[in-house]
């Protein structure tokens, strides 16, 4: 009798957290083979559903598919109830999950006595990954003599089950040819011919092919309590093959509801009508200043390092702060602990390599990426001769790296991580002064972080993060503009969760950042806003500069309760409070952000949600400079309201509908107001903003190779300027306001390792400010445009369809993939921007991406 455990595909559900560790069977109990089934020589599988709690105990087991004999089900249930698992982890902490489990009963003759010699032994490994296959059945058979004219029968001589290392041994088989059959539920069956020789032991290694090379066959069933009314989660394998994303998990964000489309795809995150800088991005709890190289080519973290991300477009919990827009929580994965693995990815922009190795009970994973756009351009463009050339030379270059070590320590799991990114670009023109390019940009950041999480018994969990950071920016545009800044930071995040019962839990946390900064900035004298000379020093104005250094502390404490009232068991309330402080500010240094979310399970599979909360955000550092900004600024505020419904649907699908309203005040806005000494304030907290809209998401989780979503957003985002600006008191559209955003994403994988994907987007045009006249600047010989009403015209609507085909080839020791990704397959011309001609009388559209095919290659082992 053989029992084959198999953790099978499960049903995903709304609000699922990120499964960072699948449950592992640590104590297997063999079921008694039903005598009637054995007598009949019956084999078969029983599919079970098991609910496993945070300690790894099986809370509940039920039969989903009873198999070919009625006695199999009870026998499997009885054994499964005694199983013991290493608990699953969601977001790094033990959690209750439901899994599918297939108990396979394989009838075999009684094993021969142990003293018989081993005649065939070896290992079963998975092709491509080289992982050992556990629990596979290896069966030796030989043709049995049969009556003439009858189909030939096979006699099973011997069988064995592979152990944790994938090893097996067959004993006591008489010499002669045999057929070996290897059966594993997750793999394709193989049959091979072997010859047993007298007195010899044959050593073999068999490689079997997985049905699908998709590591995320176990999906969480949403057991983590949902704390935000709107959260969209992604897993890498779901999106690796989406068109237009180069397999970049973070670029997929831009296809979610609530996210406006960036012009040229440059990666600005405009979330529910908020400015890009109002959305914060965290990597394992550490804020990162940039998400994409050069604003959009690719993200600053290798997607193969990532496990998942959670995107919160609004009404996020109190553990996130200093943001009025959204929050993006990106999680890295742990290194695999079995064997050495790695991969190499090459595409038209860059190349990246990743290596992971086991280290003791933990693992190390390292990745590095370097662009070759600069090398390509260097080879393709003519060399600049400083004396004679009259060419523009563009030399963009970027790299990033990540290094992560995980290891059990201090009663929990400790991980140390280093990561960083460096972008540099310069435009060099022949007339540039030596040593001073027409444009130079370098942005780089580095982080060194340590994370620890552990549980204290069943009800208390502690997460700790400490990180050191360096951010550097160096930008100059010849003599007209320049900034050089360096920021050192120390981040501390602590969160402790007390879970008293299923109805009540409390999270308390600290989120503090200490920054030390130094900067030097030079810029043409700033003109009042909405004047013809309010641009930077393009007109040759004299420049002024400012340099400063200092330090500031931004600590915060936060608390969040999750409570299910006894009288209303279908209702769950999540009240939270966050208190922030920012020592830079001269006024309103401390602000309180109370937040409340409510979930009501109307029917099984139907959840209603509502939330309201206050979100404060300190001004950007450059907005508070003495010469060019206003050091007296206060924090900006936003109130988020949302109301929604989530409906589970058949076929691993669900639909979410969310309405939202955002009311913003104290927005930092340009002003013509003066300080008492007659100098300009430049900026003030006098801006107002209003956003309302609705989001609809119909999504199918990755199952049976099919995955995708349809997202539609209606949004209306407006602003009101400072009272001193001529446009006041009229409201005007926000710079990136897009009324209708429709995105359809679909990906299908065949069993033959082909993947076909498409993405279709249709988006309303963004507003722009038209030019309504001109005045000739006789000092420069160029016309100055006279602006009309702010945002009073719109670009044409945007449409783009992308397609992608991937093929994966699985070899014995490695896997090779290639893809062709064609963006804008219909070659639709989208106006991304309007330029005025020399006297502002004619507009010239700058088109976006034309039909753009690209090729990528990937090898992994």
């Amino acid at each position: 009798v053989t029992l084959i455990p198999f953790i099978a595909l499960l049903v995903g559900a709304a609000g699922a957290g990120t499964l960072t560790q699948a449950p592992k069977l640590s104590n297997f109990v063999e079921a008694e083979y039903p005598a009637e089934a054995a007598a009949a020589g019956l084999s078969g599988a029983v599919e079970l559903a098991l609910i496993i709690d945070e300690t790894g105990e099986v809370l509940e087991a039920r039969v989903v598919e009873p198999g070919p004999h009625p006695a199999f089900g009870p026998a499997a249930l009885h054994a499964a109830a005694l199983f013991r698992f290493e608990p699953a982890e969601i977001d790094g902490v033990p959690a209750k999950v439901e899994i599918g489990y297939r108990y396979e009963f394989v009838f075999r003759p009684a094993p021969p006595p142990a003293e018989l010699p081993v005649v065939l032994q070896g290992k079963i490994l998975e092709r491509g990954t080289r992982n050992p296959v556990v629990g596979a059945v290896v069966e030796a058979s030989r043709a049995a003599p049969g009556a003439p004219g009858m189909a030939q029968q096979r006699e099973v001589l011997q069988s064995a089950e592979t152990d944790a290392a994938g090893a097996f041994a067959l004993r006591g088989i008489a010499p002669g040819p045999v057929q070996i059959r290897v059966v594993s539920p997750a793999h394709r069956e193989i049959k091979l011919d072997e010859t047993i020789e007298e007195g010899k032991r044959r050593e073999v290694e068999y490689r079997i092919t997985r049905h699908r090379y998709d590591p995320f066959e176990t999906v969480v069933r949403g057991e983590r309590e949902r704390r935000e009314v709107a959260v969209h989660s992604l897993k890498l394998e779901e999106v690796r093959t989406l068109p237009g994303t180069q397999g970049d998990l973070l670029k997929v964000l831009q296809n979610f509801p609530g996210v406006a489309r960036s012009p040229f795809g440059i990666g600005l995150l405009v979330v529910r009508g908020s400015a890009p800088q109002d959305t914060k991005v965290y990597l394992d709890g550490v804020e990162v200043p940039l998400l994409f190289h050069f604003g959009g080519i690719t993200s600053v973290v290798n997607s193969d390092m990532l496990e998942s991300l959670d995107f919160h477009p609004g009404n996020f919990g109190s553990r996130f702060g200093r943001a009025m827009g959204g929050a993006i929580d990106v999680h890295t994965r742990q290194a695999r602990k079995e064997g050495v693995h790695g991969n190499v990815n090459l595409d038209i922009f860059d190349g990246e390599a990743l290596l992971e190795v086991p280290v003791g009970d933990g693992g190390l994973i390292a990745s590095v990426r370097r662009s070759w756009v600069d090398q390509v351009l260097d080879a393709a463009l003519p060399r600049i001769d400083a004396e004679a050339a009259n060419e523009l030379r563009v030399a963009p270059r970027y790299y990033d790296y990540q290094l992560k070590l995980d290891h059990p320590a201090l009663g929990g799991n400790l991980s140390a991580m280093a990561f960083g990114s460096d972008d540099a670009m310069s435009f060099i023109q022949s007339q540039d002064e030596p040593g001073r390019p027409a444009f130079f940009l370098r942005t780089h950041f580095h982080r060194l972080a340590a994370h620890h999480h552990r549980s204290f018994g069943a009800g208390t969990r502690l997460r700790s993060t400490v990180a050191l950071g360096y951010d550097g920016v160096d930008v100059n545009r010849a003599t007209a503009f320049g900034v050089r800044s360096e920021v050192l930071s120390l981040t501390l995040r602590e969160a402790v969760v007390f879970k008293r019962s299923e109805r009540l839990s409390l999270e308390l946390g600290v989120d503090a950042v200490l920054r030390s900064f130094g900067y030097r900035l030079y810029l043409a004298r700033q003109r009042p806003p909405d004047t013809v000379l309010d641009s930077d020093g393009a007109e040759g104005d004299p420049v002024t500069d400012e340099a400063a250094e200092g330090a500031w502390l931004a600590p915060a404490i936060h608390a969040e309760l999750s409570w299910v009232p006894e009288a209303l068991p279908k209702l769950r309330l999540v009240p939270g409070l966050r208190v922030d402080h920012d020592s830079r500010l001269k006024r309103s240094r401390v602000w309180l952000d109370p937040r409340l979310a409510a979930f009501y399970q109307l029917l099984p599979g139907t959840t209603l949600t509502a939330a309201v909360g206050l979100y404060g955000e300190a001004p950007q550092p450059e907005e508070m400079t003495q010469t060019f900004g206003n050091p007296d600024l206060r924090p900006q505020r936003s109130v988020h309201y949302s109301l929604g419904a989530i409906q589970e649907l058949p076929y691993q699908s669900r639909v979410e509908l969310t309405g939202f309203v955002k009311s913003m005040d104290r927005l930092v806005a340009e002003t013509r107001a003066l300080r008492p000494d007659g100098s300009a304030k430049h900026l003030d907290n006098t801006g107002l903003g209003e956003v309302y809209g609705a989001e609809l998401l119909l999504r199918r989780e990755l199952a049976a190779g099919l995955f995708g979503w349809v997202a539609y957003t209606y949004s209306n985002s407006v602003r009101r300027d400072d009272p001193t600006v001529p446009g006041f008191p009229r409201w005007h559209p926000f710079q990136f306001d897009q009324r209708h955003i429709l995105t359809m994403v679909l990906s299908y994988r065949t069993a033959q390792e082909w993947t076909f994907g498409t993405r279709i987007r249709g988006v309303s045009g963004s507003p722009y400010t038209p030019e309504v006249g001109n005045i000739y600047n006789s000092d420069s010989g160029r016309y100055l445009c006279v602006d009309g009403d702010s945002g009073s015209r719109r670009l044409p609507a945007f449409f783009q369809a992308d397609v992608r085909v991937d093929k994966r080839w699985v070899f014995d020791k490695w896997v090779f993939s290639a893809y062709v990704d064609v963006q804008n397959v219909s070659n639709h011309e989208n106006a991304e921007f309007y330029f005025e001609n020399y006297d502002c009388s004619t507009r010239v559209a700058l088109p976006g991406l034309p039909l753009f095919p690209s090729l990528g290659l990937r090898g992994e082992w």
Binding site: P263, F264, I266, L268, Q277, L290, F294, G295, N390, L392, F427, F439, L441, V473, V475, T479, G482, V483, S485, Y522, R527, P528, D530, T531, V532, P542, V543, T544, D545, Q620, P621, E622, R672, L674, G678, S679, A680, P726, V772, G773, N774, I775, Y776, N777, S778, D779, S780, G781, R782, L784, V786, G788, F833, F835, N837, Y838, D839, T842, V844, L846
Partner: protein, 298 residues
Amino acid sequence: MVRRLLPPALLALALGCTDPVAPQYLVKDLRILAIQAEVISDGQGASDADAGDRLRLSALVANPEGLPMTVQWIACAPLLGETVSPCLDNAVLRDPARLLAHPEVIPLGTGESVETDVAPELGPAILGITQGASCPRYLELPVIAVASAGERRQMALKRVRLVAYQHLAPSGYVRNQNPRLLELRAGVADPDLCSNGTPVTGPISGRQELCGRMADGADQTFIACNSRNQSVAAVEALSWQWYVTGGTFEDLDDDGPREAGNVFGREVAFLPPEGPFTLWVIARDGRGGTSWQVYNVP
């Protein structure tokens, strides 16, 4: 800040890929091409003015259609502090009639050239910006010329520099002179065309290299403020600009639609049209000094 800087950088990258539009150098109707400010009270031809100086403002106006034309001149208060001047305010400039009627503008007269006095009351303000500064500073006096011919109206802005030059003289301040554009020379490509070329006095036939020849000493050495507000010696970077009513300037850089056909450069390649045309060449010294030459080529 970086997020705000990136889009312009990428746009700049894309600019070179756009198609050119109608060139700026080709003048088909009414245009103001340059404005010169010259202090006439001391006869030195300087462009820097101080309180009490008599100033002549001259506009180089192209009116190829020959329609009856008027030029009205106004000034606004100097750009002192950070107050908004109606001469720079988008909301006012949208309508030239509103600008001319604005209560804060000062009418200076009518004609292609007008004379005015820099109000003595501005003396303390001009001196004030100089005193205490570690390098030479100046005030800007915005002046606008509004040319009208038929239905067409054109505005041009000149920022006249007001400097307490007498106060600064002991510290070595070099008062700015309007550069003197002597003549136009033509010839084949020659590194020293301005010396070796032929002065243009009559018709231009066939493709020619043209050069705007300056008087000796046109590029003055002066004391400037650098970005750290320190005094540094600098040499004026002269620039030239070319306009014609017909013909083609060749070998132009494609710097995007905003710069389409804006012909700068001391030497340019020019293919004249059939028949008569007018050619204007303007020289600027980057410090407010301007001069020009006009050629009516038969």
